[in-house]
Symmetry: C2
DNA sequence: TTTGCTGCAAATAGTTTGCAGAGAC
DNA sequence: GTCTCTGCAAACTATTTGCAGCAAA
């Protein structure tokens, strides 16, 4: 929790540094994204905040996500079915493991990825700047039949 | 080229097996997807075919792609900016290296991916069924300033 | 006080769908 | 001849934008 507050503070500081104002709505969005263990969708964020700000608009959520993305403080995960999920907790690219039944998203630790990046750069003669790695499967709870 | 015709034939056979008719429009879409070194978009496919079939509809391209996806004969690559590109040549998941300048997509050879999949399964206790791996960067031509 | 932010509603873009006629088998 | 496929246009969904008032700094 201390970590999450710290993360939210980091984002707020970065916004101030870049001349952006801190509104209550914006702060609420940041707090949710900074926690974001569950990789929430825009709709998730909107619904959560509407409890406290009944007049909150979806457009505001979208606008703030665009802003935070442009500052590199939130990671967007788009999926083939058109859904987008967000991670403001660890905005640097990292692998995800996604349960196709319950939609849970887990962050695995993968040491070999850096090496792979070098391998690809060497083979294709690209300058690699970024990556995206997702594994899709079924989590242990869903396999146990709870899904 | 022989390979590509073979690939197109495979797709046609699978369609027939599943009781689908082979129309000229459908065949044209299949041929483009079977070649698809360049990972074409729906719009690319549509434009190419319109040269031969002026009445071709975008809806037909979409419908056929949905069909081919459902048969596992085409791989859909959705990107954060909302664009979709398709690969009917190698429909099994494989890594891609994408130039963010010229949008070129290259298929690298990566031996270490299988091992990584096992590593992830072990660590997260997921049954891994599928994956998606993209590297984003700048290709050598674009780095040489041709972009 | 200044400037950026919000909420609303309308606009937009990509994709999907209903329907009637055309065409593959 | 049957039944699927196609083309058209309308529908749909997620996201973006214009504008006027509001509020952070």
């Amino acid at each position: 929790m201390a970590d999450h507050n710290q993360r939210a503070d980091t984002i707020v500081r970065k916004l101030r540094e870049n001349g952006h104002k801190i509104t209550p709505q914006r702060l609420a969005i940041i707090k949710i994204l900074a926690v974001s263990e569950g990789h929430p969708s825009v709709e998730d964020i909107y619904e959560q905040i509407r409890a406290d700000f009944p007049t909150m608009s979806l457009a505001t959520v979208y606008r703030n996500i665009v802003l935070l993305k442009s500052l590199g403080e939130v990671l967007e995960l788009g999926f083939p079915d058109g859904s987008n999920r967000y991670d403001g907790n660890k905005p640097a690219p990292h692998p995800h493991v996604i349960c196709i039944r319950c939609k849970k998203i887990v962050d695995p630790v993968l040491d070999s990825l850096d090496e792979m990046k070098k391998e690809v750069a060497l083979e294709t003669d690209f300058k690699i700047l970024n990556h995206r790695l997702d594994f899709f499967g079924i989590c242990s709870s869903c396999m146990a039949g709870k899904g």
